[in-house]
């Protein structure tokens, strides 16, 4: 015999209650009367003295019949459709990425997912625990483990979707760590042992997940998909490039992509600093792209706003911004006892204001700020590395005590190079011969660009907010200056150090990216502890202090697309944050969740369980019995 609800045996306690009522001695009032004859006759007449009698309307009979009906109803064990009740530990992950703002379902996918999650939370059995995780651009624990439904629902209500991508990796790593049983041993075939009764519930449109690592772990995942269709047009790429001859003549590049199978028409509008420049109609067939190029005049630094007006389901990727700054000359300082090749190569760089000295000047006073300082065989004075905004190219010199000991390598042979690094772009080092080089240990913050068998020959790194490129040999003791690759390397290095290539990427970000703020070299204040204020696109302000030991500051709350207005001291900076994520714009709802190539978890719904209601019926029956007792022994007298 098996009992579906053995805890219901507790209802046997009701027998005690009923028994108690009946063993309670009634307090009868004694009356001495003339004769009990009449009363005896009365009792005899009111008692049944025949097998049958005329059916009369009798409340007691109706109540007893009702009780029997209810009892029978309980015995047939009726069930009602309702949310499936969850028990154990439930890790609830709600996708709050940009694609969840798709409005193919009313009001949007995120609201539907929240409603589904609400149903699950409300269906939690008493004692069941749950943790609520928001899977946005970052993974956040919206509500830590609790068995209080009210707290879970409150946290769920406060949850909102952002415009960023879904940080599915970190969300599932967190979920996996929560459901893992730390005391059990791992069985390779069985996968990771989990806490009994634990399960992970993902409410998402599927998106694009890189969950290959979870494929073999047999995670107890339930996937609740939302969304009905894919009908979206998005701005997938934008760029603004100045003309080589006239930097104020800008060329805007905009790519539109239609992710649906139907053609989408609309109007593409380009504005600069709020002033509309041009608009064009477009009609993009299904699964097709459209590149548009706009040639505009940009008189000053500013923001381009590009809007693709059309009637699709996802609005956040129909708008993009480009923060564009007019190019400014790079101030460079070459400190060298004399190097014709190096000076020649630097002077060949366009847009550079070069100052050549044979020793380091006093840079701590009111000296003009330099973007790039090139030190050729001259050791710098102490503290030179802390000049704000300056970046360094060290050639056979040792600016600080970066290395514990130095030695020399005779005729080192380059063995490996990081060809993907920007400074080696279009650089060939095949013919490079070096007479000798410094034999040093790569500092922990450094990354090798060119290495010999025993020592790095060139490495780069960032220290205290300043970028450094270090060349560990004397150029004049190599054949490099006479090769074509040398001026190219010098050009790349100056461009990389001057951050000209990074500037655009630092002020044009994607939602979910971390914003990085650094002092400009021309900043008047050398203070190392500045207040940074950021006005978010929604108007909300946030401020924080810059790190004392670094000229860098970071802001990771970038789930909203738009313009982030940053104030650092007396500097003002506009950063464009766009929601141009292909993974979010390609918002076809996934009916199943793929973990790698093989494992696939089918989508499910909040199951409607057939919940038995006989307990409720039993309570009603008990209430009727109590009413009957009260009515006929108290009320009627």
């Amino acid at each position: 015999m098996k009992f579906l609800a053995p805890s219901s045996f507790l209802f046997l306690g009701a027998l005690g209650i009923i028994l108690l009522f009946y063993i309670l001695k009634r307090r009868r009032v004694e009356h001495i009367i003339s004769s009990t004859l009449l009363w005896t006759r009365f009792l005899a007449e009111t008692q049944a003295n025949a097998p049958f009698q005329k059916l009369r309307r009798h409340l007691l009979m109706l109540i007893q019949m009702l009780a029997v009906v209810i009892l029978v109803l309980a015995l047939v064990r009726p069930v009602i459709e309702g949310p499936q009740e969850m028990s154990g530990l439930n890790v609830i992950i709600v996708d709050a990425s940009g694609s969840m703002l798709t409005e193919d379902v009313e009001p949007n996918r995120f609201s539907v997912a929240k409603q589904d999650a609400r149903n699950l939370i409300e269906g939690l059995k008493p004692g069941a625990r749950a943790i609520l995780i928001r899977m946005g651009a970052t993974t956040e624990i919206a509500q830590s483990t609790t068995s209080q439904k009210s707290r879970l629902l409150e946290a769920l209500d406060a949850m909102s979707a952002g415009a960023g991508p879904a940080a599915s990796d970190s969300a599932f790593q967190l979920a996996e760590s929560l459901v893992r049983n730390p005391t059990a041993t791992t069985d390779i075939e069985e996968g990771i042992p989990f806490v009994p009764g634990a399960s992970i519930h993902l409410f998402s449109d599927g998106g694009v997940f890189s969950l290959e690592d979870l494929a073999t772990q047999n995670l107890p995942i339930s996937y609740y998909p939302v969304g009905s269709r894919q009908y979206n047009l998005a701005i997938t790429a934008t760029d603004a490039r100045p003309s080589a001859l006239d930097p104020t003549n800008q060329t805007l590049f905009v790519e539109l992509q239609n992710f649906s199978t139907n053609s989408i028409n609309g109007v593409l509008t380009v504005s600069f600093n709020g002033q509309e420049l041009e608009n064009r109609g477009f009609a993009i067939p299904g699964d097709d792209k459209l590149q548009s190029i706009f040639t505009v005049q940009q008189p000053e630094n500013g923001i381009y706003e590009i809007v693709a007006s059309c009637d699709d389901d996802l609005a956040i990727d129909n708008r993009a911004w480009i923060a564009s700054r007019l190019p400014s000359p790079t101030k460079a300082l070459l400190v060298t006892p004399g190097n014709y090749f190096l000076e020649k190569a630097m002077r060949a760089i366009k847009g550079i204001e070069l100052t050549v000295l044979n020793s380091f000047p006093d840079l701590t006073g009111n000296s003009p700020g330099y973007d790039v300082i090139v030190s050729d065989r001259i050791s710098p004075p102490s503290g030179i590395g802390s000049i704000p905004g300056a970046h360094y190219l060290w050639i056979n010199s040792q600016p600080t005590e970066w290395f514990s000991s130095t030695d020399s390598n005779e005729a080192p042979i380059p063995t490996s190079a990081n060809w993907t690094h920007p400074v080696l772009r279009f650089v060939s080092l095949d013919q490079l011969l070096i007479a000798r080089s410094q034999k040093v240990q790569l500092p922990i913050w450094g990354s090798p660009i060119l290495q010999s068998t025993s020592s790095p020959l060139i490495f780069e790194g960032e220290l205290n907010g300043a970028k450094h490129i270090w060349i560990g040999f004397d150029l004049l003791e190599s054949n490099w200056p006479r090769q074509v690759s040398f001026p190219v390397f010098i050009y790349n290095s100056v461009q990389w150090l001057a951050s000209k290539s990074d500037e655009k990427s630092e002020i044009n970000k994607l939602t979910g990216d971390t914003l990085t703020f650094r002092h400009d070299a021309s900043s008047s204040s050398p203070s190392s502890n500045q207040k940074i204020e950021v006005t978010l696109p929604n108007g909300r302000r946030t401020s924080f202090q810059q790190d004392e030991n670094s000229r860098l500051a970071f802001l990771s709350q970038t789930e909203e697309s738009g313009i982030y207005q940053v104030t650092i001291g007396d500097q003002e900076l506009d950063i464009a944050v766009n929601a141009t994520h292909l993974s979010e714009s390609r918002n076809a709802p996934a009916p199943s969740l793929k973990l790698g190539e093989v494992t696939e978890i089918a989508g499910t719904r909040i199951l409607n369980a057939q919940n038995e209601i006989w307990q409720t019926i039993a309570l009603i029956l008990l209430a009727i019995l109590l009413f009957e007792w009260w009515f006929f022994h108290k009320k009627t007298v």
Binding site: V29, E30, S34, V637
Partner: protein
């Protein structure tokens, strides 16, 4: 001869006694008593009421010869007159403990009725005897046989009333046995007046039938208290019989009053039916009824008094 109506009566007022003297018990038949009285009887005797003639026989009293007929017919006839006899009236008064109840007490009212009917009987020169259902009440009163033996004449009225006033209502009675004893009494049949609440076992109904079979005219006077006719009891009750001490537990309230009244009227109907079959007169009254109204209106309506 002392006149009760002119003296202070312990039970009845002088006005009622005087009004009673103008009434008499109505009898349906002729008296079968052998004692002289004022009731017509089937016997021939000396009275003023002419009955018949018969042929003279030697030895007849010459004073009753009808000389006028002799003159016309030349034959001697003797005039016969109806004999007037007394009416034996037997009153059975229930003085058991149960009669003590009610406000006013049922016994008080029953005793007044018995006193009135007794006085009326004595005033009409009938023979009156009274019996009680509870011997205990009689013996405690110290009256003994003074009250229970037959009495005649108006001169016995005051002693009768005084004795009745001293009679107590106590003890357990047996109405059926008391009626049976009336049936078995020697003497001519007469009028039996039973005054009781009749809250006894149905056995007494059979006794009434037997009493009627002995050619007695029966009058049943049922006295009940207002509390018995419309009880104001409610709640969880333990009712104790005043006579037997038997307890009956029940739950009673307004919801069950209707059933009680229905049962009560069924009980009345039973008595009424038995009375009807037995040729008896059944009169029901309440202990708070007006005695004057009861005696001089309702008793006359029921043709008990005339």
């Amino acid at each position: 001869m002392p006149d009760a109506s002119s003296e202070t009566s312990p039970i009845l007022s002088g006005e009622i006694l005087r009004k009673l003297e103008q009434l008499e018990l109505v009898t349906r038949g002729r008296s079968r008593s052998s004692q002289k009285g004022e009731r017509l009887s089937r016997s021939r005797g000396q009275s003023v009421e002419f009955a018949d003639y018969r042929t003279y026989s030697p030895g007849d009293d010459l004073r009753y010869l009808d000389w006028n007929l002799y003159g016309r017919l030349d034959k001697l006839f003797v005039k016969l007159y109806e004999e007037e006899r007394e009416l034996p009236v037997r009153i059975l008064l229930d003085n058991s403990e149960s009669m003590q109840f009610g406000d006013p007490s049922k016994y008080e009212f029953a005793r007044m009725v018995a006193a009135a009917l007794g006085y009326l009987t004595l005033s009409c020169f009938d023979k009156l005897s009274i019996a009680f259902t509870s011997e205990e009440g009689v013996s405690k009163s110290g009256i003994g046989t003074k009250l229970t033996r037959p009495i005649r004449g108006k001169s016995q009225a005051l002693p009768y009333l005084r004795a009745l006033a001293g009679c107590q209502c106590t003890g357990q009675g047996n109405l059926a046995a008391s009626i049976r004893s009336l049936t078995s009494q020697k003497g001519a049949p007469g009028t039996c007046i039973i005054i009781s609440d009749f809250l006894e076992s149905p056995e007494f109904l059979e006794s009434i039938k037997a009493l009627a079979g002995s050619r007695n005219q029966i009058v049943l006077i049922q006295v009940l208290s207002p509390q018995e006719l419309n009880p104001d009891l409610k709640g969880e009750l333990k009712l104790i019989d005043s006579e037997s001490g038997a307890a009956t537990e029940l739950t009673f309230g307004k919801a069950r009053l209707k059933s009680y009244l229905k049962m009560l009227h069924g009980f009345f109907d039973e008595i009424k039916l038995t009375a009807s079959k037995s040729g008896a007169t059944y009169v029901r009254c309440q202990s708070d009824d007006d005695l004057d109204q009861f005696l001089f209106k309702r008793m006359r309506e029921h043709a008990v008094l005339g």
